[in-house]
């Protein structure tokens, strides 16, 4: 994801940026969406979630101007924080997409998302805490989880 703030008066900058971006996309070659059946919808889910959108918008406020406490956050610290948030949001979205297909154990989620097992355990817990996922049933000693929404 790339984001740049461009004023309406900065036409040249806008043009340069778009040219650069199309170049990057061209270099990446043809894209086959079917090759990413989980990752692509997860990415879309993460990017359209209110959380990342809000953090994107608020970044400049709290790093360039004062935040609500009249303090300014160091841009590199914010970037790090944002990156961690984006990564976790994407991981949650991956789990969400996998669970959308039906109840799964943590191991199954790990296999389908490619995330490490303990990582699935942690991010799944975020989904449970916010009321998006819940325990469904047990497969022997392994619990299956499902989406609640």
């Amino acid at each position: 994801m790339q984001l740049r703030w461009v004023s309406a008066a900065e036409g040249q900058i806008f043009a340069d940026f778009i040219t650069e971006l199309t170049g990057v996309i061209r270099d990446l070659g043809p894209f086959d969406p079917d090759a990413y059946p989980v990752a692509l919808p997860a990415l879309e889910r993460a990017l359209t979630a209110p959380k990342l959108r809000w953090l994107t918008g608020t970044g400049r406020h709290v790093t360039e101007r004062d935040n609500v406490y009249h303090e300014r956050i160091d841009p590199s610290r914010y970037a790090e924080f944002f990156k961690a948030c984006a990564e976790e949001e994407y991981q949650r979205a991956l789990i969400y997409e996998v669970l959308a297909k039906g109840p799964k154990t943590v191991r199954e989620m790990s296999a389908e998302t490619g995330l490490p097992i303990y990582c699935v355990s942690l991010r799944l817990n975020d989904l449970e805490r916010t009321g998006l996922a819940d325990l469904k049933s047990y497969d022997g000693h392994s619990p299956r989880f499902m989406l609640t929404a």
Partner: protein, 1007 residues
């Protein structure tokens, strides 16, 4: 303030720390007539207990038993709960301190916040959830737990990025980013430190790999895993992959009894019991078979009925107990954990587990030691507050008291006891200035005229932010209510409970002459008292009120079914309105309280209780059945921590005897007991002449003590070299020449304890043996002392003496119940044979003395218990109202207990418990504003058949068949539980406010 005549003493107390001890002390103090400032460093009260799942030995849910206390503290008119607050400095002297308190901003106003949680839902930032011990996350805007008091969110500034979103979504306008640190000065007469402890952090132990292995958790994390409000909603799962573990190990003494790695030589006193509890509860939670193993050094189940809990865990629940200190945990396979240990036969073994729980101990926090430094109080070598055995809750600085785990490691009942003891100590110096700093609620007169004519019902429907309004169509419910019979006013509010709505509500009730009020909102459990107060403010009797719970029982449970939830809300409102129409005003009669207390027993417990009551300003009458005061303590010469018991007793008796408010009756026998709380009459036969006396009193304290078991085993009574510990004490005192010449002494532990006949541990004998062993070594270092034990239970700081004894060469050898030592007498020569657990072969040694650590048994109190109608357990110890939270109360009000009549305990513990009992009794006597609840059962005597069903069914033993041969229920004693009303076959008993007609009206409105 009008307290110049009282040497300028100030009738308020600062309590620092709002865990269970701080809360108990605050309640006792506030009920005794003092204003309390309760300073808590976190945003909510409740402490560690609020994090626990279940509590031993009753397996009660911790939250269920603590939350009524949370609410009581939060709502108490004379307790100022100051959250996020620390003590900066303290100046002055006992009776007159000035404390500077500093409060960190919450950034959310707790008065305006309604805990709807919208800020949390919006918050884009997450942080480690310390409440769940880092097992999950929370938002920067958070509340510690759903039942927290104050029930309000706050912002974790360290995690917050300051984006401002929470302010935008807060409909109650409670978010205030401009808040800053606030300093305030308070005047107090005494300070009570209930700071609590940290839980030991095991990450410094490399070999346990706690930070690297997700399935190695601490015991407190495991509590959160088991808890229904925890990260896994109470499902037994391991963190790594959420699989349900099939095998769990507990490693005891992590951060306790360990000089090498963590420098904590003391025993943390609670871990053995909580590990057993966790193992038992985990088995209950498991779907299949769960194997649990506890690796321990000594199983220290020394508390009241703890040993039986241990036995049940082993014999009935199949918890495995393995005596071995485990050195390291090795990861194996994907997420399994291997433990290597040596079994009792000396065989090395290796076992794999799915999960390992580290039973972490207590540790004094850095904040606590810094505060101690600021306050100028001394700490002991382990950084706990230093106290003396004779004054267990007094710090080194007069006027500053300490209780709970900051005084030393201890469990909840002990902390609660000490909390009341701390309150008693404050009360003893401030008795003169009770009620000088307190507020009394002024209530307008009841408007009786509005009760004339038909019911005029006002219905207030709450949106609860979007909690109700987001699911239930509130305007529709409101308009529906308008159509119901008798309803004259309806409205809906964003938050019906908010302060401004309450003021408005009182006004609306007056203006519309409303005489019945229905609030459709949340649960009466938390909110009924608030709304009832509003009724009182509006001049209405508080019983003319009913609630419809359209949140917890509707919008929260039917979140996905908006339409049907709305219909259910209408049903609930219709039922409440129908019942409300039939509600009657009830009168709460004032309770008269005789300001004198009776203390039964003149031992250390009874004398301390009486003396403290007198210092508090109440009269006390001590009844002792023997000729001399002092009880069993007369047989003790010094305590393990150096108290000269005889001197202490002489001084104590002198102070009791010379106190003008105390009467002592010796050779006195109780023969009659009648009356009810606040107004008892006890008949006593006194002296050799057995003349009869009647004593009127408002409260009673039972302190009847215990005695040492006379052994039948080990040749006791057959050879003069075989004696009990008390007799050894006598001998060392009377014949020091003989005892110091002994070459070898063997002590045998658990004589008459922990066996089939008496399954209880007597708690005090391990330290007693160590104490005497040290004394023998002191008299003659050449004397060889061998202690034959089953588990050394030198709990808490007593562990230091155990270590000292080992260092001084006292030998300790373990035996098991099936291989008891044998004492033989060969022509007068004593010898002991036992199997050494290291060599695993019998050892026979000639000895000069065999000392039996005989059990502590309850005094014979059968008759007394029958007269007082107070319960005893199978072993003759009295049963307190609640093992955890009411350790010195009986369930019948106005009667309290303390000392070894409750269970065996040390002198310092006895003194603390005696003070606790006198605090509870004092709070009861001091609160002269008490009323008798209007919700009591009434008998229609004209139709009573005297069938005795009510007499038998009442859990409090209140109904009596009177002279007219009908059932009579004393309203002062009735608890309003309704059991008799529901049991009465002739339906002649009605419980006021829950009369059949009222309940039927609600039900028929539904069907």
């Amino acid at each position: 303030m009008a307290n110049e005549s009282n040497n300028g003493r100030i009738g308020s107390v600062l309590v620092v720390g709002a865990g269970v001890a701080g809360m108990q002390a605050s309640l006792d103090l506030a009920n005794s007539g003092y204003r309390v400032y309760l300073a808590e460093s976190s945003p909510s009260i409740g402490g560690v207990m609020s994090q626990l799942d279940k509590t031993f030995p009753t397996n009660d849910c911790a939250m269920c038993i603590i939350s009524p206390k949370l609410v009581e503290v939060g709502r108490h008119l004379n307790i100022d709960v100051l959250t996020n607050t620390e003590v900066k400095s303290l100046e002055g002297d006992v009776g007159n301190f000035k404390a500077v308190l500093e409060s960190r901003p919450r950034y959310i106003d707790p008065v305006k916040c309604t805990a709807c949680g919208d800020c949390k839902k919006a918050c884009p930032v997450s942080a480690v959830n310390f409440f769940n011990r880092g097992l999950d996350r929370r938002e920067a805007s958070y509340i510690k737990y759903p039942q927290a008091v104050p029930l309000a969110y706050s912002i974790d500034k360290d995690a917050c990025i300051g984006c401002g979103l929470c302010e935008k979504v807060c409909l109650a306008r409670a978010v205030e980013y401009e808040q800053t640190r606030v300093e305030r000065e308070v005047e107090v007469g005494a300070v009570l430190l209930t700071l609590g402890n940290e839980v030991f952090d095991p990450s410094r132990f490399e070999t346990y790999k706690y930070t690297r292995l997700p399935n190695v958790v601490t015991s407190l994390e495991f509590e959160r895993i088991l808890s229904a409000s925890g990260p896994y909603k109470g499902h037994l799962m391991r963190p790594y992959d959420r699989d349900e573990p099939k095998k769990i190990a507990w490693l005891q003494c992590v951060g306790s009894r360990d000089m090498n790695r963590c420098d904590h030589s003391y025993c943390s006193a609670v871990c053995c019991m909580y590990a057993i509890k966790e193992a038992v509860i985990a088995k209950e939670h498991a779907h299949g078979d769960l194997d649990t193993a506890i690796f321990y050094m000594d199983m220290r189940t020394y508390g009241k009925e703890f040993e039986q809990y241990y036995n049940r865990a082993r014999n009935e629940h199949g918890v495995r107990f393995i005596r071995c200190r485990v050195h390291s945990i090795d990861p194996t396979g994907e997420a399994e954990l291997a433990i290597s240990y040596v079994d009792e036969n000396g065989e090395p073994r290796r076992e794999e587990f799915d999960m390992v729980v580290l039973s972490t101990g207590f540790e004094v926090s850095k904040g606590a030691t810094e505060l101690a430094d600021r306050l100028g109080i001394e700490l002991n070598t382990h950084h706990f507050a230093k106290t003396l055995p004779s004054s267990p809750v007094s710090t080194s600085r007069p006027g500053i008291y300490v209780c709970g785990t900051f005084q030393g490691p201890k469990d909840i009942p002990q902390s609660v006891m000490e909390a009341s003891a701390g309150a008693a100590a404050c009360s003893a110096v401030l008795g003169d200035v009770r009620w000088t700093r307190t507020e009394v609620k002024v209530t307008p007169p009841e408007r009786k005229e509005v009760m004339e004519g038909p019911p005029r019902v006002g219905v207030f429907v709450c949106n609860c932010g979007i909690n109700i309004g987001g699911i239930v169509n509130v305007p529709e419910v409101r308009e529906y209510a308008r159509s119901l019979p008798n309803v004259v006013h309806v409205e809906d509010n964003l938050y019906t409970c908010s302060q401004d709505t309450q003021v408005k509500m009182a006004k609306v009730i007056r203006e519309n002459d409303i005489n019945r009020v229905v609030v459709a909102a949340c649960t009466p459990l938390t909110h009924e008292p608030l709304f009832r107060e509003t009724l009182i403010d509006a001049g209405l009797n508080k019983y003319l009120f009913d609630m419809a719970n359209i949140r917890n029982q509707d919008s929260w449970v039917h979140m996905k079914e908006s339409r049907r939830a709305t219909e259910k809300a209408k049903d609930l409102v219709r039922m409440a309105v129908a019942r409300a129409g039939l509600l009657n005003p009830l009168v709460e009669k004032p309770l008269e309280i005789n300001q004198r207390a009776l203390v039964v027993g003149g031992g250390i417990a009874g004398l301390n209780a009486a003396l403290n009551l007198a210092q508090q300003g109440f009269e006390a009458v001590v009844i002792e059945k023997e000729k001399a005061l002092g009880g069993m303590a007369r047989r003790l010469y010094h305590t393990i921590d150096g108290l000269d018991v005889n001197r202490y007793l002489d001084e104590l008796i002198e102070r009791v005897r010379s106190h003008e408010k105390i009467q002592v009756l010796i050779e006195a026998l109780i023969v009659g007991f009648s009356g009810y709380k606040g107004n008892f009459t006890t008949e006593v036969l006194v002296g050799p002449g057995m003349y009869e006396r009647k004593i009127n009193h408002g409260a009673a304290i039972v302190a009847t003590g215990a005695f040492e078991y006379k052994p039948k085993e080990f040749l006791y009574g057959e050879h003069e070299g075989v004696m009990t510990q008390l007799e050894l004490g006598d001998r060392m005192h009377e014949e020091p020449g003989t005892t110091s010449n002994w070459k070898r002494v063997v002590m045998i532990q658990c004589v008459g304890s922990r066996n089939e006949e008496n399954p209880n541990c007597s708690r005090i004998c391990c330290q007693g043996a160590v104490k005497h062993a040290l004394q023998l070594k002191e008299m003659n270092p050449e004397t060889e002392v061998v202690i034959l034990y089953r588990d050394m239970r030198t709990y808490g700081l007593l562990e230091d003496y155990y270590r000292e004894a080992r260092k001084k060469g006292v030998l300790f050898s373990r035996f098991s119940l099936d291989k008891e030592p044998v004492v033989e007498n060969a022509d007068g020569e004593l010898s002991v044979t036992f199997i050494d657990h290291v060599l695993n072969r019998p050892i026979k040694m000639a000895v000069d003395a065999v000392v039996l650590s005989a059990a502590t048994l309850a005094s014979d109190t059968e008759e007394l218990a029958t007269l007082l109608k107070v319960p005893r357990n199978a072993y003759g110890f009295f049963i307190e109202a609640h093992a955890k939270l009411r350790p010195v109360d009986f369930s019948s009000e106005g009667v309290f207990l303390c000392g070894t009549a409750h269970s065996p305990k040390l002198i310092s513990e006895t003194i603390a418990q005696a003070l606790a009992a006198s605090a509870r009794a004092g709070a009861f006597l001091a609160d002269t504003h008490q009323t008798i609840s209007g919700v009591v059962a009434k008998v229609d005597t004209s139709r009573c058949a005297a069938c005795l069903v009510c007499v038998r069914s009442c859990p409090f033993g209140v109904p009596k068949i009177n002279e007219d041969n009908v059932s009579e229920i004393n309203e002062a004693l009735c608890q309003g539980c309704g059991v008799c009303a529901s049991e009465c076959p002739a339906k002649v008993i009605q419980l006021a406010h829950y009369e059949d007609g009222q309940i039927r009206a609600g039900i028929s409105a539904f069907s």
